[in-house]
């Protein structure tokens, strides 16, 4: 009987506050259904079995956690807002003779009610949309679709448990909060006359300084390694600065405007500036959150979509041939023509068997050695200074040694070099080698005979991170030896093995390519086993561009998909913050505008004033977000180049595209909420 009574009170409480609860429940529904969809997909058999499915599932698995963490933060935030609005009601109950325990019972039932509603609806939406999302995802990652519809009970239960925990913790916090306040406070909490904030110059200026510093870091990043290591620092700095600027900086700015009497005492500015000061203290945090969320959406969408749309270009850079074989040797000296010859014979047999003609064959030997090149001198790390703290990874360069014979064969050239002469090509700089000589610390000097204008790089990939010097020499063994002596071999960094590369294209369908690829793998395995202990190479690898492409699309498509899902969640969050802000401000401002009307402001002036305030409040965060995105651009570009995405145009286009789509969506929200606000202020 008693339970029924409090249950009823809770239900009527929700109904009476539907203006607050409906958006809250909608957000819960969105979060729960997104959470279900993403974790459902991360465990979906269909996707797992696709080629590249592993990477998709792994990416989505991470996404599940991101959504969960965000849900916790956001639900706490909105809950505190709801509680603030409801305090008065609870205070009244308390004074009318209900004790705190009873109020807790009401809270408990309210929580049960909206949990059940959001959970059931969230699941219904989640399950219905999961198939749809699966189709989109499969389409995005270029997979093949099936039409069976599955429901994962495991995921449903897991999601239920996760959100049950979140909601229980929120409930617990509310109960504790109610326990420790007295009824008068409860009653009064909404209309405590708030002091206009004092301008805090220190925090305001600190915010500005931190922001400028973060922008400076972002702009001065020159290579991917720096970008990676500074990215999170910059992100944290920007977030801090945004909060400081919105909370303290805005007040400082408004105060400065008030000091300027000529500016301040103008009909357009007078009311707006004064009320901005007043509301910034409370809304600064909300606006900053909106700004951060918008920035997150923009960054996520622009990077994931540019990765997705730039994928083809990236794959072509990473894999220059349809199929390629590589074998790794300890050094040039170990290379044995006989072993490689045997492999090549078997490969040719395979071509004949499948009646394919390999095209644009590229066969080349090369060694990569990493070290530091300053001016024209190569240092190893003999002094151990490669690992000094003041020496960043970004100072690393690598040298690729190619023999003149290979160079001439591959490039169809007839260059000739003396013993102490080399040819030079520098990647990743856009500049040619500037010096006439090249010196190896402790290993002699070479004369640079010629700067090679263009060179097809072996691993287009890695060269986007490290600056690579291609050295063409008649004596690769000798050069390799000298370089290795300069480098302390114990500290060998990356790729100081010699490789034999054999790549080719086949003009046939994917199936034939795959057959050839599988057979080549088999051949290499057999050859290596046949040689037993007497084997010159220590590793081998075969790649098929088609398979790599699937993997790549799997990962990038998965990321894009996840990006879209996260953006939806973040956008809902931002919209809800805006909505709550407008409602609560509407009720406060109503009283203010009534006074202004009495004092002699007409409706047109009031509308104009409201408009200018709304515009500022709405578009300030998105303008700042766009600014953040603009300054983040060099960093994003560098980080993306690390995963071999170097097409700047694609990034620019997707960034601007995302911004445009976002601005349109935002304008729609603005229009809807401002109508609501006018309604409240004008008292309808």
């Amino acid at each position: 009987m008693k339970i029924g009574f409090y249950g009823k009170l809770a239900w009527s409480g929700i109904k009476k506050n539907r203006q607050l609860y409906i958006p809250y429940i909608i957000t819960c529904i969105v979060m729960i259904s997104m959470s279900y969809i993403v974790s459902f997909l991360s465990k979906s058999e269909t996707i797992m079995n696709m080629s590249g499915g592993d990477s998709v599932c792994m990416t989505l698995g991470l996404g599940t956690n991101v959504i969960l963490i965000f849900s916790v933060i956001f639900l706490f935030y909105t809950n505190s807002f709801l509680m603030r609005k409801r305090k008065k009601e609870f205070g009244l109950y308390n004074i009318l003779g209900m004790n705190k325990k009873n109020i807790c019972q009401i809270l408990f039932w309210e929580m049960i009610i909206y949990c059940v509603i959001s959970y059931i609806l969230g699941m219904i939406f989640g399950i219905t949309l999961s198939k749809f999302a699966e189709l989109i995802l499969i389409n995005v990652v270029n997979g093949s679709t099936s039409l069976e519809f599955t429901i994962s009970w495991g995921v449903i239960c897991a999601t239920a448990v996760k959100y049950a925990v979140i909601f229980s913790v929120i409930l617990l916090c509310n109960l504790v909060r109610i326990r420790f306040v007295n009824p008068i406070e409860l009653l009064r909490s909404e209309n405590v006359g708030e002091k206009p904030p004092k301008s805090n110059w220190f925090l305001g200026i600190l915010g500005l300084v931190v922001l400028v510093a973060a922008y400076f870091i972002a702009m001065s990043v020159e290579n991917p390694i720096d970008a990676m290591s500074w990215f999170f620092v910059a992100v944290i700095m920007v977030i801090t600065a945004t909060y400081l600027l919105f909370i303290a900086g805005s007040v400082v700015m408004c105060r400065a405007m008030q000091k300027n009497k000529k500016y301040y005492y103008k009909p357009n500015h007078f009311v707006s500036v004064a009320s901005m000061v007043y509301r910034m203290k409370r809304n600064g945090a909300g606006l900053a959150s909106i700004c951060i969320l918008s920035t997150m959406v923009l960054v996520i969408m622009s990077t994931t979509s540019s990765m997705y749309y730039g994928a083809e270009d990236t794959i072509n850079k990473m894999y220059t041939r349809d199929i390629a074989i590589t074998t790794g040797f300890a050094s040039y000296e170990d290379y044995r023509e006989k072993d490689i010859g045997r492999i090549k014979d078997r490969v040719n047999e395979c071509f004949a068997k499948h009646n394919v003609v390999p095209e644009s064959i590229k066969e080349q030997k090369y060694t990569y050695i990493s070290g530091i090149i300053s001016d024209n001198i190569f240092y190893g790390d003999n002094n151990g200074n490669l690992y000094d703290s003041d020496l960043a990874f970004s100072d690393l360069s690598q040298i690729c040694v190619i023999s003149l014979d290979d160079y001439n064969t591959v490039n169809d050239a007839k260059e000739a070099l003396g013993n102490d002469e080399i040819m030079m090509y520098v990647s990743n700089s856009g500049k040619q080698y500037q010096y006439d000589t090249f010196e190896i610390s402790g290993g002699g000097t070479y004369k640079v005979k010629k700067n090679v204008e263009e060179l097809e790089e072996n691993r287009g990939s890695i060269n986007t991170i490290f600056k690579t010097y291609y050295i063409i020499t008649t004596d690769p063994i000798g050069l390799e030896d000298k370089l290795k002596t300069a480098v302390n071999e114990d500290h060998a960094v990356y790729g100081d093995t010699m490789s034999w590369y054999y790549g080719f294209n086949i003009d046939s369908d994917d199936k034939t390519k795959n057959t050839v690829y599988c057979e080549l793998k088999e051949i290499l395995k057999e050859c290596s086993e046949a040689m037993g202990d007497d084997i010159s190479y220590n590793s081998y690898n075969v790649y098929n561009k088609e398979i790599e492409r699937n993997d790549f699309y799997g990962m990038n498509g998965g990321l894009l998909f996840l990006g879209i899902m996260l953006s939806i969640v973040f956008l809902f969050a931002a919209v809800l913050i805006i909505y709550y802000k407008q409602i609560s401000e509407g009720y406060e401002d109503r009283h203010r505008f009534v006074i202004m009307k009495k004092v002699g402001m007409n409706n047109r002036e009031i509308r104009k004033c409201i408009n200018s305030q709304l515009l500022t409040v709405f578009f300030l965060p998105i303008i700042v977000a766009a600014l953040h995105l603009g300054f983040a651009f060099p960093m994003l570009k560098n980080i993306l180049s690390m995963i071999f995405m170097t097409d700047e145009i694609v990034l620019i286009v997707t960034t601007i595209g995302t911004l445009a789509v976002f601005a349109v969506g935002y304008a729609v929200v603005y229009y809807a909420t401002s109508k609501l606000y006018y309604g409240i202020v004008s008292g309808d």
């Binding site: 006359g193 708030e194 002091k195 206009p196 009497k261 000529k262 005492y265 103008k266 009909p267 007078f270 004064a274 009320s275 000061v277 007043y278 203010r592 006074i595 202004m596 009307k597 009495k598 004092v599 002699g600 402001m601 007409n602 409706n603 047109r604 002036e605």
Partner: protein, 253 residues
């Protein structure tokens, strides 16, 4: 010369559904001379507030005319109404109606800023008014930092600063303690003696006894008027009390 002429004003409210009509004002006619301090008294529901709203041009009469300084209020177009109100009328309200986002100074400037005056003009005007009202030292404070009486004095300053033809005061002492109320009424007398016309609606006999003339409204009509003549405040107070007793015991004229 009369500054305000109210003749034959009638106000009928119609319920939204059905034809049920409520007559808030039956037939009100009076005029106020320039420099006069008039009080309007009446019980709740007698039509005081309706009358004040009509005088303030916040509401339109069903019948009759209100002429302020030779201008018929109903002839003023809606879009010019706010300007007219701002330039010709000063308001003092029971609950002060100061904006908590502004300092007292800025609250006082509000109507002038809306009228597009610059800071120099405004501060030149404020100086003597603030001096008269004794709030010069409080100008930098916010409404929540000062007492009720001080708030009301700031509100009076806001009403005075536009140099209006008529000051309308709606229960100005209603939210004040007796000491603050006494001080405010003294200020009203000072303001009045410096030439301002004041029309005050009030419940309080003490407040009304400061006026030159008291009009009693009952059931939507001007029921009776009292003139100060050569009476002191105390004598006037007595006559008002007598009139009110008469009014309440339902006696006819």
């Amino acid at each position: 010369m009369s500054i305000l002429d109210v003749s034959g004003v009638k106000k009928v409210y119609t319920a939204r559904f059905g034809g049920h009509k409520v007559e808030a004002l039956k037939n009100v006619s009076f005029s106020v001379e320039e420099g006069e301090f008039t009080a309007i008294m009446g019980e709740s529901g007698s039509g005081k507030t309706t009358l004040l709203n009509i005088l303030a041009a916040l509401d339109k009469p069903t019948q009759g005319t209100v002429i302020l300084d030779g201008k018929n209020l109903s002839s003023i177009k809606e879009k010019n109404m706010a300007d007219f109100r701002r330039d010709n009328l000063g308001f003092v309200f029971q609950d002060f109606n100061l904006l908590d986002t502004f300092t007292l100074e800025d609250n006082i400037y509000l109507p002038l800023v809306l009228a597009g005056k610059n800071y120099m003009q405004m501060s030149a005007r404020l100086e003597p008014i603030a001096d008269l009202l004794g709030i010069t030292n409080l100008l930098r404070k916010y409404p929540y930092e000062v007492s009720g009486g001080q708030k009301q004095r700031a509100a009076v300053a806001r009403a005075l600063i536009t140099e209006p033809k008529l000051i309308l005061a709606d229960e100005p002492t209603g939210a004040l303690d007796s000491k603050a109320a006494g001080e405010l009424l003294k200020l009203f007398r000072n303001i009045n003696s410096s030439g301002r016309t004041i029309l005050m609606v009030t419940h309080s006999v003490k407040a009304a006894s400061n006026a030159d003339r008291i009009m009693f409204i009952k059931d939507g009509e001007v029921f009776h008027q009292l003139y100060r003549g050569n009476n002191t405040n105390e004598q006037l107070y007595q006559s008002i009390t007598d009139t009110l007793t008469l009014l309440q015991s339902g006696g006819d004229r």
